[in-house]
Amino acid sequence: MSLADRPRHGYALLKDTEALSQGRVRLSTGTLFGALRRLLEDQWIERFEQEDTSRDKQAYRLTAMGRKQLELELDSMKQLTRAGTARLRASEV
């Protein structure tokens, strides 16, 4: 989700994940780059070539397939939230 609005490199992803989760999730670099490896393998993200990008500061961005998967995941979350809310309301009646 951190790559939904713009490409980001490793440290920016760590910071954004922490901000998105309001400080609850602090990824280690080992966890983050393991996830990036799997996402690259699945072709959900790709390396984003920038003129000023050095080898140690590589940016990543979502591919079209990755964006589609994110949309599906968010739809799935919405559906789950709706179902949970409906059950809570039903139990209050």
Binding site: S28, T29, G30, T31, F33, R37, R38, D42, E73, D75
Partner: protein
């Protein structure tokens, strides 16, 4: 020994191809985050470094496991492959096409072997592991031949 040195040493536990792709980026991200944690105080900095080093140990184990297995679900850390999951609101027929329920199990198994071999070959080529790619190529040829024989046996079309 400073934190960066310890980090670089533990990075050597990762598979070589993984290191070639990510070690420079990982070290850079670690250094930026370490600098930020140093400003938060010594306690925060020590906790951060300890968590990072433990994360590297766990990450290296996961990467070796992912490298040594070819099962997609294990490579994805036991998560189901979302590309093969039917999204909510989409019918089975629309997502998967009509399920070939009349196809015998050994034909389906042979087809799965062909698909897995092709996926492994593509992945190996992407990782520049050409020895592994040749292995998958051979496996794909054998699986395709078996599939052809089975299709003939059951008189199934292409």
């Amino acid at each position: 020994m400073n934190a960066r040195r310890a980090y670089e040493i533990l990075l050597r536990l990762y598979p070589r191809d993984y290191r070639a792709r990510f070690s420079a980026e990982m070290t850079s991200a670690f250094e930026e985050a370490a600098a930020e944690h140093r400003q938060r105080g010594r306690g925060a900095s020590v906790r951060f470094v300890a968590k990072e080093l433990a994360g590297l140990l766990a990450g290296a184990a996961v990467e070796w496991m992912a490298k040594s297995v070819t099962d997609d679900t294990v490579r994805g850390r036991n998560l189901p492959d979302r590309q093969r999951m039917r999204p909510p609101g989409v019918s089975w027929e629309d997502h998967y096409g009509n399920p070939p329920l009349d196809v015998p199990e050994d034909v389906r198994e042979a087809q799965r072997c062909v698909d897995a071999s092709v996926a492994g070959m593509v992945r190996a080529i992407a990782d520049h592991e050409f020895k592994k790619a040749r292995f998958y190529s051979l496996a794909e040829r054998k699986a395709s031949e078996r599939l052809r024989v089975l299709r003939e046996k059951y008189e199934l079309g292409e």
